[in-house]
């Protein structure tokens, strides 16, 4: 068998192998994702007060300082 023939078989078996690995790995990832306790968000307060509102919709006017910009963060400790 010539070099190209050997390489062809190497590529054939490698491709089949990696595709099988790809499917198995994907199933394993989905299974892990399903079992992971972290999927349930751990911050119990997140749903308090209903859905979050966008906080960044105030239109910017150059030259005018908004309250947001000068107010120090309330959580800044």
């Amino acid at each position: 068998m010539d070099l190209i023939g050997i390489l062809a078989y190497v590529i054939l078996f490698t491709t089949i192998g990696t595709m099988v690995i790809g499917v198995v790995a994907y199933l394993a990832f989905k299974l892990r994702d399903k079992r992971k306790p972290g999927n349930k968000r751990s911050d119990e307060t997140m749903d308090v007060g209903g859905p979050l509102e966008p906080v960044f919709l105030e239109r910017y006017v150059p030259g005018v300082t908004t309250d947001h910009a000068v107010q120090p963060a309330t959580d800044d400790r």
Binding site: D2, L3, I4, G5, L7, A8, Y9, I11, L12, T14, T15, I16, T18, M19, I21, G22, V23, A25, Y26, A28, F29, R32, D33, G38, N39, R41, S42, D43, T45, M46, V48, L52, P54, V55, F56, L57, E58, R59, Y60, P62, H68, A69, V70, P72, A73, T74, D75, D76, R77
Partner: protein
């Protein structure tokens, strides 16, 4: 010192030339085999089903060659343009230290305990006279907030603010940070990112052009410790950096990466900040900017070092999220797909994203399955080899080009072969499944990666 630098260049160019020559030699060797097997190849046209798939794969291959050629050409033109600009430094608008505008660095952090301190300390050492740091702890369940506060209290010369909020996702944390930002420019990054000291200076120069609304940075892999992370290092250079460089020539970078993106604050406010309805908020925001006509450039010298997944399942989780997120963002702006006159260049950008996100992985899988079937059924295994060889040739040429342009390790060229041989098949299967699940509207979660603290 000079000799060492020249030596490094010669070493890099030498390896790149050698790799390209080796692949072309293999192609020349296989030419004879193709000539001998010409009658066997006609099997591919034996019936209409085989002919149709062959024809489809041929179109895909032509598109792929066209894509690589265009990206290399445009990225090279961008490279030349940056060299030309470098020569004309006297025209720099922000050349005086006192005239440099303020930049607010927004660092969203969710359970980044192992890496947050290293990332923040790197930020304190940035070479720029006028900036502030805002760390937004997105309701972490670990000690991210406490660790960030320790570094904040160490900082004397620079203002570092650490705020904590209830968990609302990365987009929400970034929006919070931007609301608090006092700078004219906002740099958004990830909590696990380490910026190169020149990052701010390099990016801010790009805003001399008032049409530029944002600048994307160059993301590189820091934890090159095993085969997965080394292949990703190549992927970041070849698949992401080269594409951004090429797009930057037309000022239409389609994804400002999460680890390093600088924006005009006014532009962010104009588009309403980040939306929370996709899993690729960076891609969505970039498309919003492009749709409004803002120019987006890429700055290759502003480097963001990131920790990439070093295990296969973590990697699949990341790619699954990227694929679905990009599809979600593309769908949000899909009106531009069908309005080439109105959307202009944005129409082509979206089609390019569809090609990269959907057609490429599906065609890879279809091509492999088809040639495996044909090879085994008709005993013509070499057709799979030729298919693989052509794709590998494109990969190696692109890798060699990127190693030279990006001044990267020459060993990355070798990983182009491993990339084509093992890696991309595994990744593409996940991408195809992600596409199917997105199409079916299956629910998904963010899937936070565990950090190993390699920064």
């Amino acid at each position: 010192m000079e000799i060492r630098i020249v030596g490094r260049y010669v070493w890099r160019y030498g390896w790149a030339a050698l790799a390209v020559c080796a692949v072309f030699m293999l192609l020349a060797l296989s030419y004879e085999a193709v000539q001998d097997a010409r009658s066997a190849i006609m099997i591919l046209l034996q019936n209409w089903a085989l002919a149709a798939i062959t024809f489809y794969l041929l179109i895909f291959l032509v598109l792929l060659i066209f894509r690589f050629a265009l990206l290399i050409l445009y990225s090279f033109l961008d490279h030349l343009e940056s060299l030309y600009k470098e020569r004309d430094k006297s025209a720099v608008l922000y050349r005086e230290e006192s005239s440099l505008p303020m930049i607010s660095l927004v660092v969203p952090a969710y359970n980044e305990g192992p890496v947050i301190q290293a990332a923040m300390r790197a930020l304190l050492a940035l070479d720029y006279p006028n900036y502030e740091i805002i760390v937004v702890d997105d309701g972490s369940t670990d000690d991210t907030y406490e660790k960030a506060m320790v570094v904040a209290s160490e900082s004397v010369a620079l203002e570092v603010r650490v705020v904590t909020k209830r968990n609302g996702g990365k987009a929400d944390a970034l929006n919070t940070g931007m609301t608090l930002a006092r700078g004219e420019f906002v740099l958004n990054m990830d909590g696990d990112t380490k910026l190169s000291p020149n990052a701010l200076r390099a990016c801010i120069r790009r805003f001399e052009n008032p049409k530029v609304g944002a600048v994307a940075g160059n993301v590189k892999v820091i934890n090159r410790e095993n085969i997965w992370t080394r292949i990703q290092a190549l992927e970041y250079v070849e698949g992401l950096a080269m594409a951004r460089k090429a797009q930057s020539f037309g000022r239409v970078v389609n994804i400002i990466p999460g680890p390093l993106g600088m924006f005009r604050k006014s532009v962010l406010q104009q588009v309403g900040g980040y939306d929370r309805d996709t899993f690729a908020e960076d891609c969505d925001l970039t498309l919003k900017l492009l749709m409004r006509g803002w120019h987006i450039e890429y700055e290759p010298t502003a480097i963001a070092w990131v920790e990439t997944p070093s295990h296969l399942l973590d990697l699949l989780q990341q790619r699954y999220r990227w694929t679905r997120g990009i599809l979600q963002a593309t769908r949000k702006h899909s009106h531009a797909l069908w309005q080439p006159r109105k959307a202009g260049i944005n129409c082509y950008i979206l089609w390019y994203m569809m090609f990269e996100g959907v057609m490429w992985p599906i065609s890879n899988i279809v091509g492999n399955l088809f040639f495996i079937f044909v090879g085994l059924q008709y005993d013509v295994t070499f057709v799979l080899f030729f298919w693989w060889l052509q794709l590998m040739l494109l990969d190696v040429v692109a890798a060699a080009y990127c190693v030279v342009i990006e001044e990267e390790e020459p060993s990355l060229i070798f990983f182009a072969i491993v990339f084509r041989l093992f890696y991309i098949n595994i990744i593409d299967i996940s991408k195809v499944f992600a596409t199917i699940e997105e199409w079916r509207g299956k629910a998904m979660t963010w899937g936070k990666l565990e950090r190993e603290g390699k920064l």
